[in-house]
């Protein structure tokens, strides 16, 4: 992905900021300007909403044939996380062995280096997910 595209949404990526529709209360991440449920009625009524970062593993895989930008991490774990706010996010799972990953496992977002350096020498940071060890954390 090109550098300007990444930086344009850096705030949302770093702080996990989504939006909530004023009409139906649904939460979206990444932010959308229009709620797919309320459609045009929702335009201008999508308010910033910071996600808790907590969620559960919905599905997962271990990647052996990587995206070229992630070669050095191979094999790495990808998952779709169902967040507390009833919104789903795709991200890597870290701090856990693949054999120990389970559907329904509780995880929390953490800020990490995303891949290798881009051709322009830029290092991307963003969210990854790690297991919640202590549920009272």
């Amino acid at each position: 992905m090109t550098t300007p595209r990444f930086w344009r949404e850096i705030e949302q990526r770093y702080r996990g900021i989504g939006v909530q529709c004023e009409i139906c209360d649904r939460v979206y991440f990444p932010p959308r300007e229009i709620c797919p449920h309320c459609r045009r009625e929702s335009f201008g009524k999508m308010n910033e909403r910071e996600l808790s970062g907590k969620g559960k593993v919905l599905t997962y895989t271990e990647v052996h044939d990587p995206h070229p930008d992630f070669k050095l991490l191979t094999p790495y774990i990808m998952a779709i996380i169902e967040m507390e706010e009833d919104v789903r996010v795709t991200g890597q799972l870290v701090g856990v062995d693949y054999k120990d990953v389970e559907t329904g496992m509780e995880v929390k977002a953490t800020m990490r280096r995303l891949g290798e350096e881009s051709p322009e020498g830029i290092i991307y940071y963003g969210y990854k997910f790690a297991p919640v060890k202590d549920k009272h954390e």
């Binding site: 992905m1 595209r5 990444f6 949404e9 990444p30 797919p36 919905l58 599905t59 997962y60 895989t61 271990e62 990647v63 052996h64 044939d65 990587p66 995206h67 070229p68 930008d69 992630f70 991490l73 790495y76 990808m78 998952a79 779709i80 789903r88 996010v89 795709t90 991200g91 890597q92 693949y98 559907t103 995303l114 891949g115 991307y124 963003g126 969210y127 990854k128």
Partner: protein
């Protein structure tokens, strides 16, 4: 709306065709189709070309006029249609609408992709860009891994097994062994599939369709004019489009494709038949899991029964419903933008009764199913044997 017939078909060999360029693939397929139909170049009103990513793959945009030009049809309007892996099927739908509406009479619909001018890693990255680049691939997701997550979800929710995935692959390779245009025209044993190197767990190397070069084309005309041409006609009975969110994580259902279900519902409604009437189908098996999901969402089997049905042989040639008689994307090959046209060609070959050792007995209704991205777009065509 007028009834529409396919009166000519043509496709290239599919594979790693080092000596052929995109324009050559397009021209070869187009000329074969025009010759098969018995139309002359001047009679063609319009050309649609399905192509996913010539800009990235061969550094050439605006490929439809280029192909028309080098086919000697430089005065024929030519438009490229892009919808990821569904580009070919979407182009066919555009052609159908042009003819059905009465706007055009003779329309050529082609599809072509040249995947192997870039290395395999680059080709996979380009294919992955049909998913959400900013919120899926940037985090490390590949096209393979998104399908692997669908597979894992399907296994967890419905008890589908790796064995059942392997059965899809064994069947499609067996079908391809009777298809001379297939990239891999040979049967493979199940243990090959099961023991292949892992790509993205649970999907191994043999669970994934190859990235191929190839071109395919069909000629359409109003059903009322078929007698004016030599081509052996088949009828396009109905078409349906479906859509969903671009990112897999935004879809409520990970183990099914809403886009497929909607496209199928519309196509069946437009055709006045149901899934039970279908004799054979070419479905979008870019991964083993994709075929299992497809045969459920198209209504051939209940949700969760696609795996067991495959294992029981109910999708084999001349069983309950013959699925991917051509070998599918897995074994016939995956020249991405051409796939939807390759599927229509297989349907036409079957309905003409020309499929030789892979012929579906007494085939009357065939269905083709083409998917873009991980399921953000889908298109279904229903074809019928010609009857006077």
């Amino acid at each position: 709306m007028r009834d529409v017939a396919i009166i000519g078909i043509g496709e290239t060999q599919i594979g790693e065709l080092w000596d052929k360029s995109l324009r050559e693939l397009g021209i070869e397929a187009g000329l074969k189709a025009i010759r098969d139909a018995g139309v002359s170049g001047e009679e063609v009103d319009m050309l649609y070309v399905g192509n996913m990513s010539a800009g990235k793959l061969i550094n050439q945009e605006h490929v439809a006029p280029m192909i028309a030009d080098y086919a000697g049809l430089d005065d024929i309007p030519a438009v490229r249609i892009e919808s990821g892996g569904a580009s070919g099927g979407m182009a066919l739908a555009e052609g159908y609408i042009s003819v059905a509406s009465g706007f055009d009479d003779i329309v050529v619909v082609g599809g072509a992709e040249k995947m192997t001018d870039v290395n395999d890693e680059e080709a996979k990255k380009i294919l992955s860009s049909t998913a959400d680049q900013e919120w899926e691939t940037v985090c490390g997701a590949t096209f393979d891994s998104l399908h692997a997550m669908m597979a894992r979800y399907h296994m967890n929710k419905y008890g589908t097994t790796k064995d059942q995935f392997a059965e899809v692959i064994v069947k499609n390779h067996s079908n391809a062994s009777n298809n001379p245009n297939a990239q891999y025209p040979r049967a493979i044993p199940k243990n090959f599939v099961m023991n292949a190197p892992m790509v993205s767990d649970p999907l191994g190397m043999f669970d994934c369709a190859p990235l191929s070069d190839g071109g395919a084309a069909v000629v359409l005309c109003p059903a009322e004019y078929v007698d004016n041409y030599n081509g052996d006609p088949v009828k396009i009975l109905g078409v349906g489009h479906g859509a969903d969110h671009i990112a897999l994580h935004d879809r409520r259902e990970i183990g099914g494709m809403k886009a497929t279900r909607i496209a199928a519902e519309k196509a069946f409604k437009n055709s006045n038949i149901s899934s039970k009437d279908i004799d054979f189908a070419e479905v979008h098996d870019n991964y083993s899991i994709s075929e299992i999901v497809a045969i459920e969402d198209l209504g051939f089997f209940k949700k969760g029964e696609g795996g067991p049905a495959t294992e029981e042989g109910r999708t084999a040639l001349n069983s309950e419903i013959s699925i991917n008689t051509s070998g599918g994307l897995k074994a016939k090959g995956q020249p991405v933008g051409a796939v939807g046209i390759n599927q229509a060609i297989e349907a036409a070959i079957q309905l003409r009764g020309d499929a030789g050792d892979r012929q579906v007995e007494d085939a009357r209704y065939g269905l083709t199913h083409n998917v873009g991205g991980t399921g953000a777009s889908a298109v279904v065509h229903i074809l019928e044997r010609w009857s006077e």
